[in-house]
Symmetry: C2
């Protein structure tokens, strides 16, 4: 059987972001942690960590990390029938999109995590990249916009998020006095989440506009809303995130009736054990609601 | 003089995250973009990009990117006196902490960006890492908790953020029925922003507790507040971010009177030109306020 002390050292180094901190977390010296990683690499015949530019697992290391996560999930189930075995609970690493975390996610899983004493290690990834991390074995589950199941994993629909093209009334008066003309769209600053965010492009294509447009880059869901409400730009924002701003008239649509729907899917490893199945059930009964 | 077409190609590839998208943005074919990068690397005698595990600039490439940003800032000043030169405005890359972006930042700079038609490329970094990116030449300015100026840059204080240890009243009844005892702290789930977040550790040290504690990892400012308000854990939250929740009693301190102050500093390159000086003035007159 695999020496899990070695795998635990690897998981802790990656989670803590360094050998010294991992040592502190495990109650070991830094050199003892290094020695475990070295032993693991010798047994495996290849490196499990790359040290630069930043410390991270190699593809082989990531497969090991995914394996550790699955074993930890199975241990959770075992601990239910053998409570004396109980160790401090493992953290479940989940990739999800920033907008879900900023809106419906916490409400959907809070009761479950509390009741099962489950700790989460959340990783924010732009929709399609999360799935790549799942494929690489870096996360145990992933909430993203792709319906394509990963081999060995299940995929269930989680409803959809509705995005509206929003700005302040003052912004609209200033930049779109004659509506969304091509000239106006070429000059009006937009807000884009990051290089992988295609929502503004899709919205503009819906409007028949295919040129380039000035935009701020703001990789934070709440920061995005802040930039929009201060009048710095217009952007595609989840309706459920800004209900108050819409009702109060602080934000309003730049193209009434236009919206984009982003369907979300929950991907999880098939052999994640009972805890993963129950988490999935909790999510399914609390999926995104537009009421 | 440097061939700026080559540097522009490099900046666009990094910003767009790929050669194909960079080509689309520049109105060039993908192979024309590749050719420019290759030419740049031949002239320089070393690579400017690493392709895997993810596309990013080498240290040499980052120095070039920083140079391009500074040149673009200077061009902005020039364009004021020679408006016919006006090109689509450059984006200014700034590293800042997630909590500032989620709270006071947008209000402080909105008017300035609107008046100067300045676009931002915001990068979220845990406080001390932003400064490293500044040193590496990857960003033009950085808002972080270190007062140590980088060589060639200026550093001005921006006030401080006050963090309170908060949870829901229900959470406190459940996990701290007898106050913050050592036993309770060993069992009560906390929320930690990420491996570099030392706020919970500092708070617990203030309470005289030095053991390990269970915690969720949640690298999102708004997600952090959501997890706390659903009762999943307690955590150090900026007071200005949750005034409403505090007034409504949805969140309350787990240790009344205890708080942590995080001083913030604005670092910017000395030769950033007039636009950077004016941005700094705008920030100084709108710094964090606790009124």
């Amino acid at each position: 059987m695999i020496d899990y002390k070695l795998l635990e050292a690897l998981a802790t180094v990656v989670e803590c972001g360094g050998f010294e901190r991992a040592g502190a977390a495990l109650g070991l010296s830094q050199s003892a942690v290094s020695q475990r990683i070295r032993t693991l690499e010798i047994r495996l015949g290849q490196p499990v960590l790359v040290r630069s530019p930043a410390l991270k697992a190699t593809p082989a290391g990531q497969r090991l990390l995914n394996h550790v996560q699955q074993v930890q999930l199975l241990e959770r189930d075992l601990a239910k029938s053998l409570p004396t075995l109980n160790e401090p609970s493992a953290r479940l690493r989940i990739a999800l999109n920033a907008d879900s975390l900023a809106t419906w996610w916490a409400d959907a899983i809070a009761d479950f995590c509390r009741d099962e004493e489950l700790l989460l290690d959340l990783v924010i990834e732009d929709q399609d990249i999360g799935l790549r991390r799942m494929r690489e074995g870096d996360v145990a589950a992933c909430l993203c916009s792709s319906p394509q199941p990963v081999a060995g994993a299940r995929c269930v629909p989680m409803g959809s998020m509705i995005y509206l093209p929003l700005a302040t009334p003052e912004y609209i008066r200033r930049y779109f006095p004659e509506g969304l003309t091509e000239t106006a769209l070429r000059d009006a600053p937009a807000i884009v989440f990051g290089p992988n965010d295609q929502l503004q492009h899709r919205f503009l294509a819906q409007c028949g506009f295919h040129g380039s447009f000035p935009h701020h880059l703001c990789p934070s869901s709440e920061g995005f809303v802040k930039l929009a409400t201060t009048g710095m730009g217009y952007g595609m924002i989840p309706e459920i995130q800004v209900r108050e701003e819409l009702e109060a008239g602080r934000l309003t649509s730049i193209a009434t009736g236009q919206q984009l729907e982003v369907k979300l899917y929950w991907h999880f490893w098939r052999h994640g054990g009972g805890a993963m199945d129950r988490l999935t059930q909790a999510l399914q009964s609390n999926r995104i609601s537009h009421r």
